[in-house]
Symmetry: D2
């Protein structure tokens, strides 16, 4: 039986009308069109306190960290749309990655939920560079925790006016490009895991 | 009248026994010894929610962001000890920098509280590299918001056993090195601002 | 018939007794042991002038650039040992990558000889960090030209005394680690290309 | 007597009509207008072989490396226009920095010709980002060899059509911006060294 790529998709923003949520939804559709099973989540549904070692020592991992960790473990691919705040990733994205990286038991292999995953990155931002500089940091961050990050990426500039009411990008070439990102990940996984 | 350098010092950790809090306290002492006025703060005293644009639109800046912003404006130098989580900075440090960077009024110049500040970085970590990889990210982050980051820095490896009961580094050479970092910043500011 | 991974291996140094040449030879052996066909080359055999656009306009690509380009095209994987000079890659490595990246005809797709290749990096250096900081730049460089760089890497510190007369690493654990890097690349390719 | 800032200016390209040479000449003028003494050099006048440790062991530093080293020692500021090749700096720029960094005698302090220098960076490129990604690497490179790199920088996109016959930027705002970069460096040095 053929392998169906399983992809976890999310944006590094909790904002209701986040352009990064819109962007990742398009990439997720591109991955589905290419045969992948995509779980699109909203980090707003997984609130967690800012990571603090004392908090972890006292209470262990928050329930939402455990849930997210399980989700990471159950998927082979990651589609991440990362908003750029001050030329880097959002505190929300980093906080999520850090909590999820923590071990629940001593038996757990370090970074087990990240190691060997394959990721594709995108960004949307109001500015002219589309969040490109922030992706440099996200890429380095993920590779340091053993994720394979594919070279393909997309940065959507002028994002406040880039999306139509249906959530798609008004520029057809850009829309195809973002759909194509999802497809790239799905096809990579299908080939690698077959 | 001679100019007295004003330095804001803090660690990117809220943990009670944070090795980065200990490290920055030593660097702060080095700056004081060199004639600077140092305000050493604990980010645990300035709790803030994780940055969220919707929250900001609804409620404006948290009181603690306003207080911190005022502190940044009143100081010329920054001494920052940055813990390394997953090879990068902590969500707490990024969250602080992001909230503080937000404008309270439209009249405010962008990044006014960061532009032209001079920073020196250090890190302490349990591992063998002492948080060195994380400093690469902190440096890039600060420079992108117009902070001058001096090339001098220190990474304290094996930090769990590096500090004595008095809070100083047991290795005298290392202790002098961290004191020297504070001195470097104080002297740079004294020379630049005289 | 099973696919045999084809790997091009080289060091970013032309030096006769280069520790990076020794290191990449071990990784190459690890790849061969895992079933790959490895072409181990010495950049000293491919001398080229420093890249200069005027030179290229006048004379086209040097013969050695054309030969290297052909080699890149014929292999699916790259094993690169990168010496660290001033915390970054060597001018020799960059010069090689830049000349090879140039198109010989207008019909040629941009970066055709790099796109989709899979690379694994290592470094050896006399210092305590083993060239780790330089690998950050090599990684970013390769990913920007569409190479998939696997997260696994090795930095051999104290390299001047790390190798025995037989060219192997005296520390058995380190020897196995570098052999393992080659194996990682071979297995990744075998799985991806099968 | 007032201090006159001494600035060494050059581009990381040897090309006759290099847009980066044009760009750095404008920034140099801005620095002169602000009272600095600027030495504008052309790396084409300082040809050197690609750095090779065996070559250095056999013949020592090339004469041009010694001349450049002397120039670095005699100046307090650096104005560098860096062409972007494959998203990073040119082999020519790296080769120059590496040769110049080598010690001629054992008595020489490491990196003496770079330590404490203050630099400002710019880039010009045919593409839409103007060489911005390459500057990330130049910045990291220089800071690792103890240069203070000011946060201000400029990337000139569409550079092939950006300059008039007189060598100035046709866009007056951009021209002022690049002149301003030189001024920023001159004023920083004047203030710091007074």
């Amino acid at each position: 039986m053929a392998y169906t790529p399983k992809i976890l998709a999310f944006a590094g923003s909790a904002r209701k009308d986040s352009v990064n949520k819109k962007a990742v939804a398009i990439a997720a559709q591109g991955a589905r069109d290419a045969g992948a099973e995509v779980t699109l989540i909203d980090l707003a549904d997984y609130p967690m306190p800012i990571y603090d070692g004392d908090l972890e020592s006292a209470d262990g991992l928050p329930e939402n960290a455990k849930k997210l960790k399980q989700l990471f473990l159950e998927h082979d691919g990651l589609l991440i749309a990362s908003p750029e705040y001050n030329s880097s990733f959002s505190p929300l994205l980093k906080n999520t990655i850090d909590w999820v990286s923590r071990k629940e038991t001593d038996d757990e292999a370090p970074l087990a939920c990240y190691t060997g995953k394959v990721a594709v990155l995108l960004a949307a931002s109001p500015g002219g560079l589309g969040g490109l500089r922030g992706l440099v940091h996200v890429r380095a961050l993920l590779e340091n925790i053993n994720v394979i990050v594919l070279p393909q990426q997309r940065a959507i500039s002028g994002a406040m006016n880039a999306f139509g009411d249906d959530g798609n990008l008004s520029d057809e070439k850009q829309q195809q490009g973002v759909l194509g990102l999802g497809k790239t990940l799905a096809e990579f996984l299908a080939r690698y895991q077959r």
